[in-house]
Amino acid sequence: MQPFADVPAELERYSRQIRFQNLGEDGQRNLVRSRVTICGCGALGTVLANHLVRAGVGFVRVVDRDFIETHNLQRQILFDETDVAENLPKAEAAARKLRAINSQVTIEPVVTDIDHTNILDLVGDADLILDGTDNFETRYLINDAAVKLGKPWVFGGVIGSEGQTMTILPGQTPCLRCVIETSPPPGMTPTCETAGVLGPAVAVVASFEAVEAIKILAGKHEAINRELLMVDLWDWSFRRLKIASLKGKVDCPCCGRREFEWLEGRMGSHTTALCGRNAVQVAVRRDQPLDFAELAGRLAPLGQVRHNQYMLRFATEGHEFTVFPDGRAIIKGTNDIAKARTLYAQFVGS
């Protein structure tokens, strides 16, 4: 096929979206120069990363704490069975796929748990933050960081066949805490395990997020939607809730009083039960990376152990540990945080 005469050669691969008048060549040039951090690379995050890398966003940092399991493949579009067999962390596996999709984009995978000690480093140089997480603890942390730094971010959440999304432009729109003051306590809301989730529902919500991201990064701010979108793919319900008037109306601790409780570590735990996984993450930060060979030698008499450069897996007495070099561990076989802490202390050590 002949290249479009009106599209410069270096942008030829983006010709079809440049032809979309609302974006245009100026918008594409802005995309190529822009930087984004995607927090979480599960169902939402893989769809977000796929869209933005194909669209030519110049720099994409993908941050995720987790590794790939077979039950992820139903909806996490960048992963396949080979990644499961190789025990790859999600961020690393995503980076391999994304580089193959578009070598013009710089991809930076980061395998870590986002918390108040590292979030400013992870988002400080980005033009935009995208929510690919599965929990409100991290979202309130992102919200604090975004409002403090004055960076836009896009929130998205999905369960079952329904989802919600909104775009936060600090100083201009209500922030997440203006709209959702607190998240429901555990037990009051369905989890991935009880309610399940449909892949297409995640893809739709992430696609709404991605289009808002493209508008923001391309400099098309007048086109950004400022409502809370609620969508249910099962019954085709679609609601646009007006939230713009909440800005300044509610006494928001974050964007109103500028009290960043999550960013300052006053809110949020470091050990968390993982949604629908019968698993607990224990985060024990270490100054030095763990020595997997040493740990594997110590654990070998106690159960099955194997490791690669990214993780060590250890199974014993109905529990499976996945340990990361930074000291963090995901312990399967329990939802009990205290029990998980005990197991960590018993087998990994504090």
Binding site: N135, G157, G163, E181, P184, T191
Partner: protein, 90 residues
């Protein structure tokens, strides 16, 4: 009577229904009638007497009641009262 839309997580407490007709001239009255019909919803919606949980957002025709008169916001027969959940997954 106003129509109250029930989010998926709360439907088991509302006899499985997606919408419930409830009587009242304010949001507070409509929700009181709703919880009379479905008592299990009381503790899912309210933290105490006349006080919604912070994580329960209520809209009348797509406007947040916090921007209007909260539970005193007037409701007409043709209005839809929406209970909007916070969706955590992803």
């Amino acid at each position: 009577m106003a129509k109250v839309s029930i989010p998926t997580p709360l439907r088991p407490s509302a006899g499985g229904q997606a919408t419930v007709e409830a009587a009242g001239s304010t949001v507070g009255e409509v929700l009181a009638d709703l919880t009379r019909q479905h008592p299990d919803l009381q503790k899912r919606l309210f933290a105490g007497e006349g006080q919604l949980h912070q994580y329960v957002n209520v809209f009348v025709n797509d406007e947040d009641i916090r921007f209007m008169d909260d539970l005193d916001t007037p409701v007409k027969e043709t209005d839809e009262v929406g209970i909007i959940p916070a969706i955590a997954g992803g």
